[in-house]
């Protein structure tokens, strides 16, 4: 333990291109970019699925199926299949980002369609009956009410991505995962554990920031108490969204 602390406090580890700040920044960037791309794809599709009801079956099973696929295997496969076609750094970056996006899409998608689905029918009916057009109903009523679950989905995706980005160090990606992987290679426990602690901290901080953002953005009217089986299953849905596979 002392060795680990020594490694963490060693100023040499905080400088240069292999230093902690740089690696943290890289890790954060890969994660944000992947989640961002995934959200850009998955939120509109999820909203559409929730609103129209089409494609729901596919979406539900997609999320479930992908959870069963080990991300490590996916990373290696993507790297080995796509890598040869690309040169230099891109050969690591592109396959990795693709895998990260693929893994981030299902939770966000599930959050979006589940969020829209659980909007009270009476509220939707009233909105339409009062003279809101379809787009107005979507943006003024359905999306705001879906926000809690959409956020859940994004948070879950973020964790999934941070974890998988850690693994991506094995195929050569930068980021905090490097400490774990490099440390493993040379049997430097201090480096491994130090990196592990940093990754854990990063994940916790990101989750905390996302949770705070959620509290700020989501209407206080939506955090009311819920009880009973229907709502318990709904909360399981939320827990399900948080479960990742890496």
């Amino acid at each position: 333990m002392n060795e680990v602390l020594a490694w963490l406090t060693d100023p040499a580890n905080w400088q240069g291109p292999d230093g902690i700040p740089v690696r943290t920044w890289q890790h954060l960037m890969y994660s944000l970019v992947s989640v961002g791309i995934a959200a850009a794809i998955a939120i509109p599709v999820g909203l559409w699925i929730g609103h129209t009801g089409h494609g729901r079956f596919l979406a539900v099973n997609l999320a479930g199926a992908l959870r069963a696929v080990p991300s490590l295997g996916l990373l290696f496969t993507a790297f080995m299949v796509l890598g040869p076609y690309l040169n230099g750094e891109v050969s690591v970056f592109v396959p990795t980002i693709i895998v990260l996006v693929v893994l981030a899409v299902p939770p966000v998608l599930a959050g979006a369609y589940a969020g829209v689905e659980q909007v009270e029918t009476a509220a939707r009916d009233a909105a339409r009956g009062m003279g809101m057009r379809a787009t107005e109903v979507l943006w003024r009523v359905e999306v705001p009410c879906a926000l809690p679950l959409i956020f859940s989905g994004i948070r879950s995706a973020a964790l999934q991505v941070i974890a998988t980005a850690t693994l991506a160090a094995t195929v050569g990606l930068g980021g905090l995962g490097r400490y774990l992987v490099d440390g493993l290679a040379v049997r430097d426990y201090a480096q491994m554990a130090g990196g592990a602690i940093l990754v854990a901290l990063l994940a916790l901080i990101v989750d905390f920031v996302a949770a705070t953002l959620q509290r700020v953005v989501v209407s206080p009217g939506l955090t009311g108490k819920t009880a009973g089986r229907k709502n318990a299953l709904r909360r399981i849905q939320r827990t399900t969204l948080r479960a990742s596979g890496s």
Partner: protein, 214 residues
């Protein structure tokens, strides 16, 4: 394809290891989550700290958790115990909330009538509340089990032999076959776990089979 057929023995061994490493934590995690979930349910003020606390553990990436285990357990890095303990922690993290919510989904009128008939709290828990909470708990357990199968593969990086070893093996030798085999095997294993849980849940809830829906 040939590679798979040639190495069926190895694959079988690794699958057994993997199954063991995934199943034990899932069951252990469930058993630990039941009292925790019950406490969180029973003492309102504990719900937030317990659920959020366990939830925080789930935020930690798997590789990081595997690596940090020796600090707490005093084991060596490639000890399978690291994996089992870490996976159990993950399962508890997922299932505590599920158990709490599952118990919460039992209608108050049912628990009240059980108490009125003279059931003590423990008896009520095991004979009334838990059985009725099975659908919700099973839903969460399926997610946990499938997740576990997937996460265990990461342990190949710390040298624990299981299906994930096929990934590292293939990667090191630049050979795609073992990786594909590993992926297929993992998915199939996850499917088996999923089906087993569904079946057991069905068996435990004969009243649901008898026609009426939730």
């Amino acid at each position: 394809m040939d590679w798979i057929l040639d190495h069926l023995d190895d694959i079988e061994y690794l699958t057994r290891q993997h199954a063991w490493l995934s199943a034990v934590p899932t069951v252990l995690g469930l058993l630990l989550a039941i009292p925790l979930g019950w406490v969180a349910r029973r003492y309102r003020f504990l719900y937030a700290p317990v659920v959020v606390g366990t939830g925080l553990l789930y935020t930690i990436p798997s590789l990081a958790l595997f690596i940090l285990m020796p600090l707490f357990l005093g084991t060596r890095i490639l000890d399978a115990t690291n994996v089992v303990v870490a996976m159990t922690i993950y399962t508890v993290a997922l299932m505590t909330r599920t158990v709490a919510d599952g118990l919460g989904s039992v209608p108050d009128s049912v628990t009240a009538s059980a108490t009125a008939m003279g059931f003590g709290p423990l008896r009520r828990l095991f004979t009334v509340e838990l059985p009725l909470a099975v659908p919700v708990i099973a839903a969460g357990l399926r997610v946990a089990a499938v997740s576990n199968v997937s996460i265990v593969s990461v342990a190949a990086l710390i040298g624990v032999p299981q299906l994930g070893s096929l990934f590292t093996d293939g990667f090191v030798r630049d050979f795609l076959d073992p990786i594909v085999a590993g992926l297929i095997a993992c998915v199939l294993l996850a499917l088996v776990f999923d089906l087993v849980i569904v079946l057991v849940a069905r068996l435990l809830t004969p009243w649901q089979r008898a026609g009426a829906s939730v």
